[in-house]
């Protein structure tokens, strides 16, 4: 019984990790850029949703606002910082993203203060009981919305023109350009999409717990772990990894060590890197000599 509930906890967390990690891996797949500021998009999504909710009283509007806001921020980041750095060694993009992350997190700190905030929505307060199980509607919404988004994303990547362009560019950006696809627009779109996913995750999760300006850090660290295990640029692998690792974390915290629960994801990451550096799905590593 407890086992089942802990697995359920893991599933809920897995949804959030998946949403955040997929955005990260989409961007990497195309640009080969690791964006450390991605976690702060998660935070921005949460805060924008909070303020939008306080102003309008509508949770739907709040989520919508956070999607728009984070997509915008993502787009700006790509345009102003990552695009000029495309020609340079990738480490520079990584470092620039660190700079962006510092600005976002501390900008939020300056604007909104360090005090933890509680995002109270009626959905979070409404609790549904089914036998021994008890969940708030919000938690159920997290799972439902995440699964819907993930399903939608898969369909989009496989069927829609833009989605296929995205996948093509992730395979070979240069060839894509030569095939006549406007790569810059695809790249910008990928950034915006990834950012929006992270923002939605923030908006969905924050009513369940506390919001602080530095909540992005742990989120992005875990998302990295998920992306590495699942494979950079590999969307299905990342999603699978997200759930596997979240459930492992939940079970590990419950039955192995409550104290070191936060380390579990990173231990898995370290092991994965030692054993199979390319992630759950194999990838060709040969360099072109």
């Amino acid at each position: 019984m407890e086992l089942l509930e802990q697995i359920l906890n893991g599933v809920v967390n897995g949804c959030i990790y998946a949403l955040v990690a997929v955005g990260l891996t989409l961007v990497y797949g195309i640009l080969e850029v690791i964006n450390v500021a991605h976690g702060d998009l998660f935070m921005v999504g949460a805060f924008v949703a909070y303020f939008a909710y306080v102003t309008t009283g509508s949770y739907v509007a709040a989520v919508g606002a956070s999607v728009v806001a984070t997509a915008l921020v993502g787009w700006v980041m790509e345009r102003v910082v990552f695009r000029p750095l495309q020609a340079q060694p990738r480490i520079n993009s990584l470092i620039a993203s660190v700079g962006l992350s510092l600005m976002l997190a501390n900008g939020a700190l300056i604007l909104w203060g360090a005090e933890p905030r509680f995002f109270r929505t009626p959905l979070a307060a409404t609790i549904v009981t089914a036998g021994p199980f008890s969940l708030s509607v919000q938690r159920g919404l997290v799972v439902a919305a995440s699964l819907a988004l993930i399903a939608g994303l898969s369909v989009f990547l496989r069927r829609a023109r833009l989605g296929k362009a995205l996948r093509a560019c992730a395979q070979d950006l240069e060839a894509c350009g030569l095939a006549g696809i406007e790569t810059q627009r695809v790249v910008a779109f990928a950034f915006g999409l990834g950012a929006a996913l992270a923002g939605v995750a923030g908006a969905l999760l924050s009513p369940l717990s506390v919001m602080t300006p530095d909540m992005g850090l742990l989120a992005v660290l875990k998302a990295f772990a998920v992306v590495v295990v699942g494979g950079f640029g590999n969307v299905p692998g990342t999603i699978a990894a997200a759930f596997v690792m979240a459930i492992a974390e939940s079970l590990g915290g419950a039955f192995v060590s409550a104290t070191y629960q936060d380390s579990i994801v990173f231990v898995i990451l370290a092991l994965a890197l030692m054993i199979r550096p390319t992630g759950l799905v194999r990838e060709r590593l040969e360099e072109n000599i």
Partner: protein, 380 residues
């Protein structure tokens, strides 16, 4: 004539600007929590110490010397508190320090105080390690953890008699010490420990712990966290359908918690040393004055530091406005009357104390019992 005038003017000038002719200032440094997860304690404590200083100054100061409280942001973090204390001691040259509110930062402040030989009076933190044998500069006007647990477990063992007890706490001196001491005492009176969950002070996700506890069904759960984490825990507990009697020592009796927790705190029991509803006359005066000035009801963190400031001023009056003088005088304090009772320090720098046990009911704190009554009932 002119030269005499000049001489007179010069003399007057010299007299007026002679060192010592300017008013002396008794500076008290306070590395309080102005930001960070413990920021809720910053406002009330700052208010209280300012009020104390104003009251002393209005009554003529300390033998003519003005009292000034200098605030610094210790963030309820050991390192920040140490830095803040150092700044106060070295840059601002304070004559005495107040504590860092939470136990861990206060220990850090203590290290600075002892190194720089500055007297320190703690008004909140409970860790046993603060007042130990041989500490010449550190004094505490509120109880230590041993005293807290003695009182609360006394009550629990005689009145509530819990059978299954769980501990959800922050892994700091405050959280760990309270939990370990309570666990020892409660196990001694027949309770079984069914849950042990240390966490970060800024913890926000308790899903794993709550799910485990649901399976264990504790009838009493110690929740030793600061308000943000505690509230997150309570919300999630309600969400998951975990029910238990919540118990806290010291950290969750501010107005902030009452406001933010709302009905989540229903039935919550806690221990502190002062309640606005107290019947002790000095306490009542303090509550009224605080309410008049700041429009709010004070909490016990405010009360503790208020007393600390008053005590330091008293010590300065006895021993002189200097670090050594104050330190000496503090050690010799006997029967200082305060809203926390009469203060005398034992050789470790600890004062005896009074306790209040309260319960949240209908959004307010109701006093369940006070230590004097319990002592009377036990015939002590």
């Amino acid at each position: 004539m002119r030269s005499t005038g000049v001489v007179l003017a010069a003399a007057a000038f010299l007299l007026l600007t002679r060192p010592g002719g300017a008013q002396e200032v008794l500076k008290i440094g306070f590395p309080t929590c102005l930001s960070g997860p413990g920021a809720v304690y910053g406002e009330s404590t700052s208010n209280a110490v300012r009020m104390a200083a104003d009251e002393i100054n209005a009554a003529g100061g300390v033998k003519g010397a003005r009292v000034e409280v200098v605030l610094a942001d210790g963030k309820c973090d050991p390192r920040e508190a140490a830095l803040a204390a150092e700044k106060l001691v070295i840059n601002d040259r304070v004559h005495a320090l107040l504590g860092g509110i939470a136990s861990s930062p206060s220990l850090a402040v203590k290290a600075v105080a002892e190194r720089e030989k500055v007297p320190m009076v703690e008004g909140v933190a409970g860790t046993n390690a603060l007042t130990v044998k041989g500490a010449r500069y550190v004094f505490r006007v509120v109880p230590n953890m041993a005293m807290y647990t003695a009182f609360s477990t006394d009550f629990l063992c005689t009145r509530l008699k819990p059978k299954r007890v769980a501990y959800v706490f922050q892994q700091t001196d405050f959280g760990t010490e309270t939990s370990e001491l309570s666990k020892a005492k409660l196990e001694a009176c027949g309770a079984r420990t069914v849950g042990w969950f240390p966490g970060r002070p800024d913890e926000t996700n308790f899903a794993t712990a709550i799910t485990s506890l649901k399976a264990q069904q504790p009838d009493l759960t110690f929740l030793i966290h600061w308000p943000p984490a505690a509230i997150a825990f309570l919300r999630q507990a309600r969400e998951f359908g975990l029910k238990s009697t919540w118990f806290n020592v010291g950290s969750l009796s501010g107005p902030d918690f009452t406001q933010k927790a709302g009905d989540l705190a229903e039935g919550f029991m806690g221990v502190n040393v002062f309640e606005p509803g107290s019947t002790r006359p000095l306490a009542q005066r303090f509550t009224e004055e605080y309410r008049r000035r700041y429009g709010k009801v004070p909490d016990w963190f405010a009360a503790g530091n208020y007393v600390a400031v008053k005590l330091i001023a008293d010590a300065a009056a006895r021993g002189g406005v200097s670090r050594d003088g104050i330190a000496r005088a503090l050690g010799e304090t006997k029967g200082f009357k305060s809203l926390l009772g009469e203060i005398s320090f034992d050789p470790t720098g600890q004062a005896p104390s009074v306790f209040t046990l309260f319960r949240y009911s209908g959004g307010r704190r109701i006093v369940v019992t006070e230590s004097e009554r319990m002592a009377a009932a036990a015939g002590k």
